[in-house]
């Protein structure tokens, strides 16, 4: 096994001599965490809503006072008065305002008469996030106005009581597991796949093949080195990402051990998969061309950004065999939920079995000659 360790030593010396690999494998996930974590998941503030009031009655005034309260307090939107409904619609279409509330004639009278009063909301549903937020706020206003002034002593309607198991999870925290997985994938892709093919093309492998090293020693040496690099990337991003997202999980020894096992399993799974894909590749351009495609195929179907349960059947099938799925699930279970080994044992088992299985298939495919 000394010859295997010679390969590992060579790879690791190279790795530490040129820290660019480590920097580049961490840079993109950290930026993603920083930018996407802050850009997404925030609440809509300062939207503009046109109000066309044809009624001007007391109930319409009540409604407009409610809008003003929103503008002053949670600031989701401010209102702009319009006199012409068509002009308001046109401005919604051209993006000058984000929505338009139409208060029809006879609104106040219908409210008083309890005669199916209605207000209209023209919304720009091409931006579902903003329109959804505005609809939500307006829905709350309408519910509040519909509520009886005096609450009945015995509630006769069904109420849903929500119990949140975990503290508030902002988007940056939600994104952290995906970013750790991404950092490890980039490390394996560059430090495993690309360097492997580049070394082959440069004749470095030719140098190895004329020595008495066995096929197994060579395969294990190359893969151990690549897995160590991915593990280091995973550890770095877990620590940096947790600090950025304000998570204290890294200060809990038990959770740290669970994370370390998960990082190790992920490194073995990603590396085994990459070696299997690259074992017969000769052209240095191939791994570069595969980088983006693989990222798309593995990262997005994993549930890293959107829940797997929302996928169509064929995409769910891809998620089932995707090691990213188990890696992201495991990291979420520890980082966001502190679920312990009970929550991640299946993920760990899948990752280790998948990685070792890939290596078992790849080893006989590895050519001991040129």
């Amino acid at each position: 096994m000394n010859r295997m360790f010679a390969i590992v030593e060579r790879e690791m010396r190279k790795f530490f001599r040129s820290p660019m690999l480590m920097i580049m494998s961490l840079m993109m996930p950290i930026l993603q965490l920083l930018i996407m974590g802050n850009a997404f998941g925030g609440k809509i503030v300062g939207a503009h809503v046109a109000v066309v009031d044809y009624d001007h009655g007391p109930e319409a005034v009540k409604l407009r006072e409610a809008f003003d309260a929103i503008a002053v307090n949670i600031k989701t939107f401010t209102t702009i008065n319009y006199t012409d409904e068509n002009k308001a619609r046109e401005d919604v279409r051209t993006g000058k305002v984000d929505g338009a509330v139409i208060i029809p004639k006879q609104y106040s009278r219908r409210v008083s008469a309890q005669d199916a009063p209605r207000i209209g909301f023209v919304t720009d549903n091409s931006d579902q996030f903003t329109s959804g937020s505005l609809e939500g706020e307006l829905g709350l206003v309408v519910s509040a106005l519909n509520a009886p002034v005096i609450q009945p002593r015995l509630a006769n309607s069904i109420a849903l009581e929500i119990v949140e198991l975990y503290p508030y999870v902002n988007y940056m925290k939600f994104l952290l597991p995906a970013c750790i997985a991404l950092a490890m994938y980039i490390s394996v892709m560059i430090g495993g796949g690309m360097l492997y093919i580049d070394d082959k093309a440069r004749g470095v492998h030719e140098g190895y093949l004329v020595t008495p090293i066995t096929r197994l020693e060579l395969v294990l040496g190359l893969n151990t080195a690549s897995a160590i690099k991915a593990t280091l990337s995973g550890i770095c991003l877990t620590v940096i990402g947790s600090l950025m997202a304000g998570l204290g999980i890294i200060f809990h020894p038990e959770a740290l051990l669970e994370l370390l096992c998960l990082i190790l399993g992920t490194a073995i799974a990603f590396n085994g998969m990459m070696f299997l894909l690259m074992v017969r590749v000769e052209d240095p351009l191939t791994p570069r061309a595969m980088f983006g495609v693989l990222n798309l195929l593995l990262f997005y179907p994993s549930g890293a950004m959107y829940p797997v349960s929302a996928f169509p059947a064929w995409l769910r099938a891809l998620a089932i065999i995707d090691p990213f799925t188990y890696c992201v699930h495991g990291f979420k279970a520890i980082i966001l939920k502190d679920g312990g080994f009970t929550a991640i044992w299946f993920d760990l088992a899948f990752l280790f079995i998948f990685g070792i299985g890939c290596l078992l298939v790849a080893t006989p495919l590895f050519k001991r000659t040129l």
Binding site: N2, R3, F5, A6, I7, E9, R10, R13, K14, R17, S18, R202, G203, V204, E206, G207, Y208, L209, V210, T211, P212, I213, T369, L370
Partner: protein, 347 residues
């Protein structure tokens, strides 16, 4: 077996044990036959050269002998072991320097050597001793801590040679060891290899397309062309095998169709090769006599000779003799530099 055109020496006559024996070796890639039924042997302590143009099959031959490429047919014995049946035993006995510079630029000279010593399972104490010795042998001791990327091309080539020696091999294979080096570095490498052979009793097999390198460095040379062994012998034997002891190079101020015939009719001339317009290489048994006749002929015809030189036969002439063309013709593919014909031009 296709016997080479010239095969004057057999190892049995040399009285030394055989280090490498290649018998009827063939390498095919699909329908393409890269090496065609080649046989030769190398005795211990010998520097043996495979000389030929790029694509002749030299590197394929060396790769088969060093276990890198499977042999399609035939047999190769290296250090007494069958390359196909016992490749690991062969690998332990040989050192190989590939054509490309493959030492790691990010690692130091010593680290590069140490990792290769470990790949050969050289014990720690022996490893340190070997590294010190090979660094001394290639004159890189004071650079042992330097990163490889800071070394010059010649120094990197010396490091490659040291790397191939770090486990004390018996047989050393070098694939184009001086390609890409400047003339000074090339001569330094030749001297170093010759010195290593003497001090370490190494057997060396070298591929090259440099005539001068083969002539100066090798005890015996095998000329390889289109995958076939076309001639084999010592440089002197090969030169003597070519009819004509001298080469006269003559350049006339204008080209006429009659020059070739006139030159061939001169006394002692064995072959005439047209190099370019008005420029001819004439193989002759007597350079001085042919020169005198040539000058007299030109004077009588009222033609002007712009340059004239007389040389001894070189390996280039040997190559021309056995293959029908010059080795340097193969270095650059003419078609790659051929201009398209002008409109109306006939070719």
């Amino acid at each position: 077996m296709s016997e080479p055109a010239f095969y004057p020496d057999q190892n049995a006559d040399r009285g030394a044990p055989t280090a490498i024996a290649v018998e009827h070796i063939v390498k095919r890639y699909g329908d393409f036959e890269a090496v065609k039924d080649v046989s030769f042997s190398v005795v211990e302590g010998e520097i043996f050269g495979l000389l030929g143009p790029n694509g002749a099959g030299k590197s394929t031959l060396i790769r088969m002998m060093t276990t890198l490429v499977p042999i399609t047919a035939g047999k190769a014995m290296v250090a007494g072991f069958d390359v196909e049946k016992d490749p690991d035993a062969v690998r332990r006995k040989i050192g190989v320097i590939p054509q490309a510079l493959t030492s790691d630029p990010d690692l130091t000279v010593e680290e590069n050597l140490s990792i290769y010593a470990k790949l050969y399972s050289v014990p720690r104490v022996q490893r340190e001793k070997n590294i010190a010795e090979v660094l001394e042998a290639v004159d890189l001791t004071k650079w042992r801590g330097a990163q490889t990327k800071t070394l010059s091309g010649g120094m990197r080539r010396r490091l490659e040679i040291a790397r191939g020696l770090v486990h004390n091999p018996h047989i050393f294979f070098l694939d184009e060891p001086t390609t890409g080096l400047d003339p000074v570095s090339r001569i330094a490498v030749w001297e170093m290899l010759d010195n290593l052979r003497r001090t370490r009793n190494l057997t060396m097999l070298i591929t090259t397309h440099y005539m001068e390198e083969a002539d100066k460095l090798c005890d015996r040379i095998a000329i390889v062309d289109h995958g076939k062994l076309v001639a084999l012998g010592t440089p002197m034997e090969l030169k003597h095998s070519v009819p004509g002891a001298n080469v006269v190079e003559v350049h006339f101020n204008r080209e006429t169709e009659e020059w070739k015939g006139r030159l061939e009719s001169l006394e002692g001339v064995t072959s005439v090769q047209a190099e370019s317009a008005g420029f001819y290489r004439v193989l002759t048994s007597s350079g001085s006599r042919t020169t005198m006749q040539l000058v007299e002929m030109a004077t009588a015809l009222g033609e002007t000779i712009t340059s004239l030189s007389v040389q001894n036969t070189t390996l280039d002439d040997v190559f021309v003799h056995y293959t029908g063309r010059q080795l340097r013709d193969e270095q650059v593919k003419p078609a790659a530099f051929m201009l398209p014909p002008r409109p109306g031009e006939q070719r």
